[in-house]
Amino acid sequence: MKKSTITAGLMALALGTAAQAEDVLRIATEGAYPPFNNVTADGELVGFDVEIAKALCAEMKRECEIVAQDWDGIIPGLVNDKYDAIVASMSITEERQQAIDFTDPYYSNYLSVVAASDTEITQDTLKDASIGAQRSTIGSQWAEDTYGSRADIRLYDTNPAAFSDLKAGRVDTVVVDFLPGAAWVGENDGFGFVGDRIDIEDKIGIGIRKGEADLAAALNAALAAIRANGTYEAISVEYFGVDIF
């Protein structure tokens, strides 16, 4: 994690860089959302999103460059043409669709509520508990929309920060996407899910700038192709043991 972010910081010292040549497809991911996208100690971006992005590029026979971008600035960066696509487990929402376009979905997402295993909180009493979530995620927006802006919702810059407060006991629950939630629960004894996963009919898509119909068509065709030839399923099984499409 650290080496890459430091190099990225130093590289940012260079003055404004213009858009790269047309043939390289620049893809942004967050790099702080295991197991979908994170950075290894060697500074390499890995995870389900990254593998899917690479598979799509191979299918389209285009050279790709994958960069890490903090979540808060990931949509503004796309709009400002810092990169051409976001493959970062981003939910397709109406609000986001006002700013950017999405491809067809590449997997289905569910929400989950994580808490200490011995908690008495249920999904019905969640409104009285403190709810942690990463700022500007589908989880925090679901909590705000369900319980209102005046519930005890604590917003963090990253998911690990929210989980760290959950572990310390400073927040009662964390609302997080189901699969990363399951990964964290698997690594931390004494924590589990509150109730079943929550289906909010959430589909994850690739974000692209508005009006880029050619790119959308190319990505959708590539997605259909890796679905059909088994590449997608192989990646999904490698990470989750099941096909999460």
């Binding site: 808060d72 949509i75 503004p76 709009v79 609000e95 700013a99 942690g132 700022r135 500007s136 925090s140 927006q141 705000e144 802006s149 005046r150 604590r154 917003l155 963090y156 810059d157 920060a161 760290s164 407060d165 572990k167 310390a168 006991g169 400073r170």
Partner: protein, 246 residues
């Protein structure tokens, strides 16, 4: 009860503003005003407690007794020498990560609450700066007065409290007013420890609409607050001049 009262205020304010406000502000209005009230609440408490703490710190530093002077000097030095954001993160994320097992139930009930941690750090921070301001004020008060008071048998503490400090505060008042505005600006940082003050609410609104005017609305509210603080400081200053002239 109190919480509901605050909500009632912001709902009425927003209802009152609704014919005037645009689409974006209208939708986010209760959030802005909720946050605005949290900011005011924290500022009033932090600056109120900080004022008296600063007097205590100043007296301790000037008392000439090492067990009192050294800790006070160290506290002022550390809080003035490091960024507020670092102080907030050391205490919230740093000490907070120790958890209930190490901190014990009483301390933990405090560290558990981001609002209280924010209040603590803001209070300590402002008292360090204000103590330095008061010390500067004291340096400009004629020391002969203190010596005169001591020579007629007045205890040192009372001489400081009744004679030296009131004059020092009057001299330092404009600088103190500046510090209040700086504190208001610094308070925006508590949004990084999950407190939904005006800045926290603003960032939450921006995270959903990516509309830069969100920040401009917040800027206007902060400017209103700066105006209120300046008006307060000026009123007190006029009163002090009046009573000094009598």
């Amino acid at each position: 009860m109190y919480q509901e009262f605050k909500y009632l205020i912001s709902d009425s304010v927003c209802a009152g503003l609704s014919p005037l406000s645009g689409d974006l502000f209208g939708k986010a209005c209760p959030r802005f005003i909720d946050g605005f009230l949290v900011t005011i609440e924290l500022l009033v408490l932090a600056c109120g407690i900080g004022f008296f703490l600063a007097i205590g710190l100043t007296l301790a530093r000037m008392s000439g007794r090492r067990p009192l002077a050294w800790p006070a000097t160290a506290l002022v030095y550390v809080f003035r020498g490091t960024p507020l954001l670092v102080q907030l993160w050391i205490i919230y994320f740093g000490f907070g990560s120790l958890g209930e097992d190490i901190l014990g139930p009483i301390l933990w009930s405090f560290f558990k609450n981001p609002w209280l941690v924010g209040l603590l750090v803001l209070t300590l921070n402002t008292s360090a700066y204000v103590s330095e301001i008061f010390r500067g004020g004291l340096a400009n008060v004629d020391r002969g007065q203190l010596e005169a008071a001591l020579s007629i048998g007045m205890p040192w503490l009372r001489a400081m409290r009744r004679i030296m400090l009131p004059q020092a505060i009057r001299i330092a008042w404009p600088a103190y007013g500046n510090e209040l505005v700086l504190m208001m600006k610094g308070s925006a940082l508590i949004s990084t420890i999950t407190v939904l003050d005006l800045m926290g609410q603003t960032r939450t609104v921006f995270a959903r609409n990516f509309d830069l005017t969100t920040y401009l609305y917040a800027a206007i509210l902060y400017l209103v607050l700066a105006g209120l603080i300046t008006a307060f400081v000026n009123t007190i200053e006029r009163r002090m001049q009046l009573s000094a002239g009598r």
